[in-house]
Symmetry: C2
Subunit: 108 residues, 2 copies
């Protein structure tokens, strides 16, 4: 069983959401006391293609997703407490069925 | 012109989103250093009926909404920096057309 990050403390939170794909993905951006930037978000049932700028680590909070990373042939399933890394300047696919997938995105 | 609250500082942020109405409304809950609870959220184009527990003050961050408060006959339009109050244990309607409505919800 993986530990789940349920709270960030001392964060500066942007009140305006990031809305992607007509709302199939919604996140809010945070800056932690040490200056690191993260976002907390949710993906509703859909299959989406994301493009990264900086490298990202995605960490599940609730629900599940399936991910096709660049150069891979196999979709991999991730759930609460599980992480996957996406390279920078890359494109990857993510699909969610049923329950929303709640995540933390760690940048850089 | 109304001042817009663009950031909350020092907040404890729940990483799991609140997802209402199949994702037409998504928010994240915050607790500020003084213990007050708020949420930051977004409503996508839809007409929704919300039920309150505690009284709420809604504050716009971006986009617009129209609101029909309990006992009122007229829909009122609110935008960035504008607030409206909803009594506790009440039901109210909110509708959003076009661009998402980003908001802060102040409780109690």
């Amino acid at each position: 069983m993986n530990a789940i990050t349920d709270t960030f403390s001392g964060a500066a939170v942007s009140t305006r959401a990031n809305v992607y794909f007509d709302g199939k993905c919604v996140s809010h951006s945070l800056t932690l006391p040490d200056g690191t930037r993260k976002s907390v978000g949710v993906i509703l049932p859909a299959t989406l293609t994301f493009n990264t700028g900086a490298p990202e680590i995605m960490e599940g909070v609730a629900g599940h997703c399936e991910v096709l990373l660049p150069g891979e042939q196999v979709w991999r399933r991730y759930g609460p407490g599980e992480r996957f890394a996406v390279p920078g300047n890359a494109s990857f696919q993510i699909r969610v069925d049923g329950e929303p997938y709640h995540y933390i995105c760690h940048f850089g």
